[in-house]
Amino acid sequence: MLKHVLFIFCMCLISIGANAMPNCPTADGTTQTDCEQITGCVWTIASGCAACTENNYYDSSSKTCKSCPSGYPNSAVGSVNGISDCYKPCETETITGGKRVPSSDKAYHNTQCTYTTQCDNDGGDCDLGFHPNGDNCVSNVTSCDNNGFKFYNGTGFSDCFVSSSSCGSGEQLVGRGHTCNNIPYGVCKTSAFSCSTAPGLNTSACNGGTISGDATLNGETYNLSQCTCEKESVPVSNGNAGEKCFYNASSNIFNIDCVQTALNSCNDGYCSTDGRNCIPIPENYYKNGARDCVQCPNGSYRSGSETTCTWDSRTEFSDSIGRFTIPASGKIIAK
């Protein structure tokens, strides 16, 4: 059992060694024929049976070692695989703003070195460094035509950033921390907007209504909390009224501090005595128009499901013939 284990262990060592220098026989009496039976071993007059030295490759057809070609001048000692063992070193290349780091330290015959571009982050005054652009590193800052700069934001260049002197009336500089030559650079933004045209406001959330108010610049964004949407007609309890709500910037809809503005109408059977709420039409009241409760005129009354006031009276009068009573009744048609 132990013998078997040792044998397997030795075979493993031999197989591992197969990738290293071939075991070329060097004992006295070794012949060229003995030597050349082993892959990677060559016979030379100078040193007998030996493996190929560094920077040479084993040519199996001629049983000789040959120099690696100039484009791939290097090889390890003991080449056995032919010219494919030759390689060229791949080294880190310094480039403007960074370096190209090889993916591997060598490129074997007929292959090329591949690199990754690593850029520095220690730029100049506009201290934003460099970013990779193909095989090169390019500055994270580039000039604009209007004395401003564009700054790289990780995926592309920003719009032009300018100094405050470039901002017009009613504008203010919104900076993002970019400084060049100690001058802060940012973007000019209008200090205040009518909410109806304010950047970032979802106008469609006020469908059918009217947007009012002003949006003021707060940092780099506009404060939209004072923007309102007023709609003329929304359902309310037993009626229909106008509504005004403030903008909710987190959900981009108008749903904050909603107030009812004007009561437009009350449903059938309802009217309003205060102009705000619709209530069932009280006794002896009738609904005048779309919403208002109006007391029935003197002498008339209304009750139940009647929609009109009813008057009931009699007129007594006397003439030459005698005294008469004229009964009369009628309805006041609700408008």
Binding site: T26, T44, A46, S47, G48, S67
Partner: protein, 145 residues
């Protein structure tokens, strides 16, 4: 057949006189030829050889030719590139079968330069290693301090 050339008397006498006058000059002329200086060896030759081309560069004929050249003072056999696949057996082989026969061609021939044999192999054949050093080569010099 004998050939007799008839020379007029006056001429014969003139020749005799010339011989008498010129006789003392001849030894002087002869001695001038003898003191002409032999060419002085003025140059050393380095023959660089690698593990691949050693047999082609260091041929016996080439070495013999340089050895015969009276202007050559010393011939150095200089190993270049790498010898880092040479084991102890190769070191011994190289000494006995390749370098020693070439050194034997002429005392003008010496070793120079360094062999970067596989580390540890030279120490396995100390006699051969000493022989290399004795003849002008170094072994794995970059590891020596």
């Amino acid at each position: 057949m004998k050939f007799h050339k008839i020379v007029p008397y006056k001429i014969r006498r003139a020749i005799s006189m010339a011989a008498i006058i010129g006789a003392p000059i001849l030894p002087i002329a002869a001695s001038c030829n003898e003191i002409e200086p032999e060419p002085t060896p003025t140059r050393d030759v380095e023959i660089k050889f690698s593990s691949i081309n050693a047999d082609k560069v260091l041929t016996m004929e080439t070495l013999q030719s340089y050895a015969n050249d009276e202007t050559v003072r010393t011939i150095y056999m200089v190993p270049i590139e790498h010898w880092n696949s040479s084991m102890a057996g190769n070191i011994t082989f190289m000494r006995k079968n390749f370098l020693q026969p070439r050194l034997n061609i002429s005392p003008k021939i010496h070793g120079r330069g360094d062999f970067d044999f596989v580390l540890g192999e030279a120490s396995k054949v100390p006699d051969d290693s000493l022989w290399f050093v004795k003849n002008g080569w170094t072994i794995n010099k970059k590891y020596q301090r």
